[in-house]
């Protein structure tokens, strides 16, 4: 009898059930999508912030001071220490290697272009294929400096081609596909580089070219690393030397910029890694602002969804006072009447919730793909939680209406004097 009541109610009142069902589906869908986006936004924005370039720099431990003014490197190339290029692929072997977006070695060399014109040639990776163990990966300026624009083509990393900085190209009167003589050797200009920074006055060449000019194979002056990090907090700032046991492990296994620097020092011998504070420090604030905003908005969305669901349920039940009156007149107890309504609500919540969850997950994916060009996947662990919340909200929305419907005098309800 109980089941028949519920079944018939769904069969005969399609319009009302549909309306409540739509409200639940929409509410759960919005809630699911918002939760998915809000939990993933930190990761996504942190990836976007990598567009600001490297946030870590690795230098040789025993290095002399930099002598750099407005992009011109005045440091004699004989001076100071170097890192070894052969050590670089080891970065892929460190604990947080999945958080390393890319790295570029640089080797600035002063060169004479004839006519007493001294410029800095910087050797680097453009988009270099590297191997670590069995793993192939690619890294270079094209990955970590997205604001570098080249008119012409990017040079191959194994070629002798170079890029000319925009202003240097103008003052030399060269353009892409011209030849340029550097240190007595002719190089093809693959393209003209525009960065809006000091590189506009420099020559950018494959690392091997710079090493040849310097006569030091395998030498790297500095290494820039772009890593996904967690905003720094008081624990992240602690000195690893003062941490012991479990605390050290926790510090080491959190992607703080400090712990990534520590690990870089471990894998690259005789090196000193440091955060580039301009990028690393500000990243944290921007990230926490956006995350905070999304969190507050998600709360607002959840509230709106809960209100919509409970409003729809209240309306649906309030319309059925007549039925309540009839059931009560036929001798049904309050508990029995409430049970029927709650069973209906449960069914609606589970059905609408499941559809809504699927819809919300699809919506989140679509948002991820269209805005961030990457997937926002939703954890299936969320499914039971969201269904439970949907049931809870539906019950809460129904409870008040059921109570009111029950207080109604059956006589009045049956006479239709609502």
């Amino acid at each position: 009898m109980f089941l028949r009541l519920v079944y018939e109610s769904f069969r005969r009142q399609k319009r009302r059930k549909l309306l409540a069902g739509i409200a639940i589906t929409l509410g759960v869908g919005v809630a699911t999508a918002m939760i998915a986006v809000a939990t993933d936004i930190g990761d996504k924005v942190s990836r976007e912030l990598r567009a600001l370039g490297a946030n870590l720099v690795v230098t040789p431990q025993e290095d002399t001071l930099d002598l750099q003014i407005a992009g011109v490197d005045l440091k004699p190339p004989s001076d100071g220490a170097y890192l070894n290029e052969a050590d670089l692929p080891k970065i892929r072997g460190m604990f947080w290697h999945n958080n390393i977006v890319g790295f570029v070695p640089v080797l600035p060399v002063p060169v004479n272009l004839g006519g007493g014109k001294n410029v800095t040639l910087v050797g680097t990776y453009f988009s270099r294929q590297l191997k670590f163990g069995k793993e192939d990966f690619e890294t270079g300026v094209r990955t970590i400096y997205p604001w570098w624009k080249v008119s012409g083509t990017w040079p191959q990393d194994n070629s002798q081609d170079v890029l000319l900085g925009e202003r240097l190209a103008v003052s030399l009167g060269r353009k892409a596909k011209d030849e340029i003589e550097i240190g007595g050797q002719a190089h093809r200009v693959a393209g003209v580089l525009s960065t809006g920074g000091v590189e506009d006055d420099q020559i950018i060449a494959p690392l091997a070219v710079a090493q040849d000019i310097l006569g030091r194979p395998g030498a790297v002056r500095r290494l820039y690393v772009s890593a996904l990090t967690k905003p720094e907090d008081a624990f992240g700032r602690r000195d690893p030397k003062t941490l012991a046991g479990a605390e050290f492990d926790r510090w080491y296994c959190s992607p703080y910029v400090q712990s990534i620097a520590y690990q870089l020092q471990e894998v690259i011998p005789h090196s000193h890694a440091e955060q580039i504070r301009q990028v690393a420090q500000n990243e944290g604030t921007v990230l926490s602002r956006i995350k905070g905003l999304m969190l507050l908005i998600t709360l607002a969305a959840l509230m709106a969804a809960a209100l919509a669901v409970s409003a729809a349920m209240a309306t649906a039940i309030f319309e059925r006072r007549g039925e309540v009156g009839l059931m009560k007149a036929l001798g049904a107890s309050s508990v029995a009447v409430a049970a029927v309504f709650f069973a209906e609500a449960l069914l609606l919540a589970v059905l609408g919730g499941s559809v809504g969850f699927a819809g919300g997950a699809m919506l989140a994916r679509a948002i991820g793909r269209s805005i961030f060009d990457s997937q926002i996947t939703i954890d299936l662990v969320l499914f039971p939680i969201i269904i439970a919340i949907a049931v809870l909200v539906t019950f809460a929305g129904s409870a008040l209406a059921i109570r009111r419907a029950m207080k109604f005098d059956p006589v009045l309800a049956l006479r239709g004097e609502a």
């Binding site: 960065t195 969305a301 409003a311």
Partner: protein, 382 residues
């Protein structure tokens, strides 16, 4: 005369009672069913509040994030063209272009020698302004007195490992400096020594060659500022710092797009909430509808009654909701960005029109269902 007054009275009689009857029905409906009316109104208010808050946030988030991104420091750099130097009044010119929409900091550089002949880059600048411009500099103590220098962390190990005073020479002229504090940034600043500009000029006689500018505003406004600066200083190169500008544009664009999608979703949910509540309210009063119809009211009159009621509800809800929504947006701004979100009254008409439209829709939908039903059927309670 008499007949004129008579007909005047007749017209007044013909209009006035119907008019006041209409108002009375509206008011009594709200008072008698105040529980349901309050529920409908509160749904309306919540929806309007959420919508207002989202629209305000969406409009303001750009300005808020621009402010956050100014912490990245200069976004425009002014340098002397090759073989030229910046004019003496360059800083004044830049500041007059900027007005109160930015900050300019001059930098002068030389390579000096330490006592044992090591080269080191020394820079003269306005340290007060650097402190405001480059907040990410980790400085132990900012110089305050005469002959105080701010020493880069790596330079400190070379010139003043124990924090003692040191000498620097430039073209035969020697200056004696106290290391007031050290600066750590992770880039070239770590290898430099910073002095106040006046002391630097007294010592070296070298003028600033670079002015770093933090211009505030949208990318278009900054573009205009760059053009104005280039016009004011023909002897200098004015370069936007693309690294900062493009990163900012990218993050901002994506955040705004996400926020827009969220706003649409939330507004949709809020509208749904209003729709189901109001539809219930109107549907619930099918007996009123039937009685009016049975007493001979025209479809037009009844339609007008429900439409007016819905519109009034929408308008009142929108105005109340607007006030609350502005409050929510301000609160979110305060909590998250530590700056209030300025209320945008331009949003009010949008919220008002939207609320009334949703209210009308939720009134008209059940109306069209009810119109098909005979009053007798409703009154019989079927």
């Amino acid at each position: 005369m008499n007949s004129g007054a008579n007909s005047d009275l007749l017209t007044r009689r013909a209009h006035a009672p119907r008019h006041s009857m209409f108002l009375r029905m509206l008011l009594r409906a709200a008072v008698l069913r105040r529980g349901r009316a309050a529920a409908a109104l509160s749904a309306m208010v919540v929806a309007a509040a959420v919508t207002t808050a989202m629209l305000n946030l969406y409009a303001d988030v750009q300005a808020k994030l621009h402010t956050e991104f100014r912490n990245y420091g200069a976004n425009v750099v002014v340098v002397a063209k090759e073989g030229q130097s910046l004019p003496n009044d360059a800083l004044q010119k830049i500041e007059s272009v900027l007005g109160d929409r930015g900050m300019a900091v001059p930098f002068a550089y030389v390579v000096a020698r330490t006592a044992d002949g090591q080269p080191v880059v020394v820079s003269g600048t306005d340290l007060e302004r650097v402190r405001k411009l480059n907040r990410w500099w980790s400085v132990t103590a900012w110089p305050s007195g005469a002959q105080d220098a701010l020493v880069g962390a790596r330079a400190a190990a070379l010139v003043a490992p124990q924090g003692q005073a040191f000498d620097l020479s430039f073209q035969g002229r020697i200056v004696h400096l106290n290391p007031a504090g050290t600066v750590r940034t992770g880039s070239s600043e770590d290898s430099r020594i910073y002095l106040s500009l006046t002391e630097f000029e007294d010592w070296t006689g070298v003028q600033p060659s670079t002015v770093e500018v933090a211009a505030s505003g949208t990318p278009e406004e900054i573009g205009t500022t760059v053009k104005k600066l280039a016009l004011a200083l023909p002897e200098a190169d004015v370069r936007p710092v693309r690294q900062i500008m493009e990163g900012e544009a990218r993050v901002l664009g994506k955040t705004r797009a996400t926020l827009l999608v969220c706003a649409v979703l939330i507004i949709l949910t809020a509208a749904m909430c209003v729709l189901s509540t109001l539809m219930g309210w109107v549907f619930d009063r099918r007996r009123d509808f039937a009685i009016m119809k049975a007493l001979g009211a025209s479809e037009k009159l009844i339609g007008g009654f429900f439409v007016t009621e819905a519109a009034a509800l929408g308008a009142v809800g929108a105005v109340l909701g607007f006030g609350i929504g502005v409050g929510i947006a301000t609160w979110i701004g305060r909590v998250n960005f530590h700056a209030a979100v300025a209320p945008r009254f331009a949003v009010l008409p949008e919220v008002l029109v939207g609320s009334i439209a949703v209210a009308l829709l939720s009134a008209l939908l059940p109306m069209s269902l009810l119109r098909r039903v005979q009053p007798a059927t409703i009154l019989r309670g079927e």
